[in-house]
Amino acid sequence: MSRFANIKVGDRLPEKNHTATEISLFLYNAAIWNPHRIHYDAPYTLEIEKHPAIVIDGPLQGDWLAQCVTDWLGQDGELVTFSYANRRASYLGETLTATGEITEKDEVAGTVNVRLGIRNEAGEIIAPGSATVRFSEE
């Protein structure tokens, strides 16, 4: 039986933990050309912008949600839609977990809808998201 045929609503995608470091945040912000000091300058971040620590970029959490779905999909299809929103800030030192669950399956179109979420250590979803993927015909 094909991989698509085996997918059921309620199935969970593999979860993955992400622990940003000063090095990973530096490289990410360099790669996207983002010089905002809250992502690398701790004294400035605490004293001037009044955050408790270096801030983990919202779009980086968006990337972790995208990885959750594209790593699960692999080479078996393509991403059609992807959405996310940052609801709450997260700070260097926290481990965040990317999660996903199948919410809908369209047998005719060969598509699957996935609910995504970045969960913090307190168990709160701080960045909800969703995606639609289309499986390739075999």
Binding site: H18, S24, L27, Y28, A30, A31, I32, W33, N34, P35, H36, R37, I38, I48, E49, G58, P59, L60, G62, D63, W64, A66, Q67, T70, D71, G74, E78, L79, V80, T81, F82, S83, Y84, A85, N86
Partner: protein
């Protein structure tokens, strides 16, 4: 109706597009992004295909250092002049026609599609809605994005 926080000048910006930007995608830029975000799939690490969120960095303005503010942020040309100055990212939704690959020459057009005023728990909020249309060198669609920014 109570007095609106949205000025006539800001309202008149609705429907206006910024000048389109054209970017050339290199394999090395995809590889740097993929390493920085600790991708695991070989197609991303080799730069054969860009991870979806690569788009965000690809289209960020390349502002000279002496034009950055003391916070490191560049002034944003897509923000209309509003009385609420603190800007946060709302949501982003992308609809993909195909992945981005090295060698692509992409043209992106961003349009302010709407402005809404809402009452938040701690005061007024202004929602700015944008559309972003990305096409390839033949004018074929690559990705369309809808995003929201919240001013408070």
């Amino acid at each position: 109706m109570s007095e609106s926080l949205i000025t006539d000048a800001a309202r008149s910006a609705i429907g206006q597009s910024q000048p389109p930007i054209t970017v050339e995608v290199s394999r090395r830029e995809i590889q740097k992004y993929s390493l920085a975000t600790q991708q695991v799939q070989q197609k991303y690490l080799d730069g054969d295909e860009a991870p979806p969120m690569f788009l965000f960095g690809l289209l960020r303005p390349l502002t000279p250092i002496d034009e950055l503010g003391p916070d490191g942020i560049a002034r944003d040309a897509s923000l209309p002049d509003l009385p609420l100055k603190r800007v946060m990212a709302g949501g982003t939704e992308m609809i993909w026609s195909r992945p981005i690959r090295p060698g692509d020459v992409l043209t992106a057009t961003k349009t302010l599609s709407g402005i809404e005023e809402k009452q938040g728990k701690t005061g007024p909020l202004i929602f700015l809605h944008y559309t972003l249309n990305v096409v390839d060198v033949d004018g074929k669609p690559v990705v369309k994005e809808r995003s929201t920014r919240i001013c408070r």
